[in-house]
Structure formats: structure tokens, C-alpha cells
Amino acid sequence: MSLDVLSDFKASAQEANVLFYYSGYFSQNVIAAMAETIRSRLAGSDISNTQRKKIFSSFVEMSQNIVHYSADSLTPSEITDGEIRRGSLCIHLSEDGYTLLSTNPIKHSDIERLRERLLPLRDMTLTDIKQAYRAALRQEQNPDTNSKGAGLGFLTIARDASAPLDFYFTPAPDDPTSILFCVKAII
């Protein structure tokens, strides 16, 4: 790769108002380092503390989802600590607000489960979302739900977003046998 490619890449990112972009392997340590840089980028921007906290929260939920659920894992699937999985995360400023976009490969068999979880959120008002969040918080954890978090992650992002969450599934360009799961949140 020549230096020109890198400077073109940087120029395009700047033009698209990209605040942060990372594509590669995610781990808890990588998230902690990203958290530090995202916080300092946000501190230098002209936004309210409330919005800053919401962007930060959505970033954490999205990147921890990648660590827990991406189908491309460097670590054995049975471990629950020190997981390393692949995905990407982008934060950019659009005319609608700050947009967070996360992608990660998933298995075909995960599509239905994710769709069932995310589709209802799209039709919910903020009041509905807060109510569903409270109900989920009080629910006993079900060991069969395949959720390593509390099932609260998407509800947390939806609660902080200013528009319904967008999500889609698309064949991975580099591997047609795998599906890319993308979530977009406007804060």
C-alpha cells in the first residue's frame, strides 16, 4: 500500500466527518483503549454531556456485542473471559446526528433470533422502550437465551437513540458463506 492510499483514506474519512473507525479484532482491552480515544474526541466536540454519555454507552454496548457474539472468533467458543472476536465500529457525524454503525459476521442460524429481537424495537415509542427495558431488568436471567449479557443491550441502545434502530444482514464481501450483521444507531 502506498502512502497516497493512506492519505486518500484519511481525506475521505475527514470528509465524511468520521470521528472514529476501527475494523479488526475486538477484546476487552481494545474496547478500553477505544473508550479512551472516543472520550477525548467527544470532549473536544461541541455536544452536550447528555449526548456524549449516550454516544459512549452505545459504543460500549455495540463493541461488547462484537466481543460476545461475532461469528469470527480467535478464542474458543466456550470461554467467557478474554474473548477476541472480529467486527467493525464507526462513529460519524451526519446531518441526522451522531451515527454509530457496527458490523460483525454471524452464522445464518443467528439471523432469525436477531431479527426477532430487533424488529419489535423499530415500532416502539421511547415510552414503550423504557417500559420494555424495565421489564427486562426485572426478568430472571434465562440460561437458554444464548445471551451473555442481560438481553438489555439492544434496549439500552434503542433508549439512547433519537431514531429507531436500523439493522440489516448482508453477505460478507470476503466470504459469501458468512453473513454480516449491521446495526445503525443515530444518537
Binding site: 473508550a35 474473548e83 424495565r134 436471567q141 442481560a150
Partner: protein, 129 residues
């Protein structure tokens, strides 16, 4: 156990539970990779301590600037354990410190207050950085 002390890390809070002084404090940020692995031992130690207490005045100080969804779930279990003990006769004051711009943490505090009525819940605005 008389003392449970866990230093803060970039993604986990400082835990300072001085059981002999009936003083429990959690402070910092909470987004560990595995919230159960972090909080379950803390909840278990607290339950064991509470089982030995009767009619004690216990102070719990929580000042968290941020916690992720899975930490929220575990904190809820922690407060539930405190509430059960308060219903059994301990007097438990829960000081809930939050940043005034943080509606999420304010609302979570309101939920705790609503669900766990045996706790003497006091919320306080503080600059959490």
C-alpha cells in the same frame, strides 16, 4: 470476611466494603467483559455479611459515572439483596450519587427506589467527571 477491597481498573469500579464498619462503597465506571464474573462474588460476600447482621445501621454509597447493561442487571440483584435484608430488620441507607446531566442513572435510581422500598434511598447530585 471483614473487608472486601477491589481496586479500580479502566473498566471496573473500586469496591470498598468495610463490613465491620457496616460501610459499603462502589465507585467509578463499570463495563467489564463479564459482569457476572465481577459482581457475583461481591453479591455473595454481601449476602454472607448481611446474614450475620441484625438490626445494624448499614451505609451503602454508590457513585458510578457509567455502567453498561450487564452491570445494570447485576447491580439490580445487589440492591435486591440489600432490600431483602432491610425488610428483615437492618436499616440500610443507600446514597445514590449521580451526575446531573445523567438522566439514565437518575432513572435507574428512581427504579431502585420504586422497587426496593425497604431501603432508605437518598439521591445526591455530584460531579462525576
Amino acid at each position: 470476611m471483614n473487608h472486601l477491597r477491589i481496586p479500580a481498573s479502566p473498566t471496573t469500579p473500586e469496591v470498598e466494603f468495610d463490613f465491620s464498619a457496616h460501610s459499603l462503597a462502589i465507585k467509578g465506571e463499570s463495563y467489564p467483559e463479564n459482569a457476572s464474573a465481577f459482581y457475583q462474588p461481591i453479591i455473595d460476600a454481601t449476602r454472607a455479611y448481611l446474614a450475620e447482621c441484625g438490626g445494624s445501621a448499614i451505609t451503602v454509597n454508590i457513585s458510578l459515572g457509567y455502567f453498561n447493561s450487564s452491570s445494570t442487571k447485576l447491580l439490580f440483584s445487589f440492591f435486591e439483596a440489600l432490600n431483602n435484608s432491610a425488610a428483615d430488620g437492618n436499616h440500610i441507607t443507600l446514597n445514590w450519587f449521580y451526575d446531573e446531566d445523567d438522566e439514565t442513572i437518575l432513572e435507574f435510581g428512581e427504579d431502585i427506589q420504586e422497587d426496593f422500598k425497604s431501603l432508605d434511598f437518598r439521591s445526591q447530585i455530584i460531579e462525576l467527571g
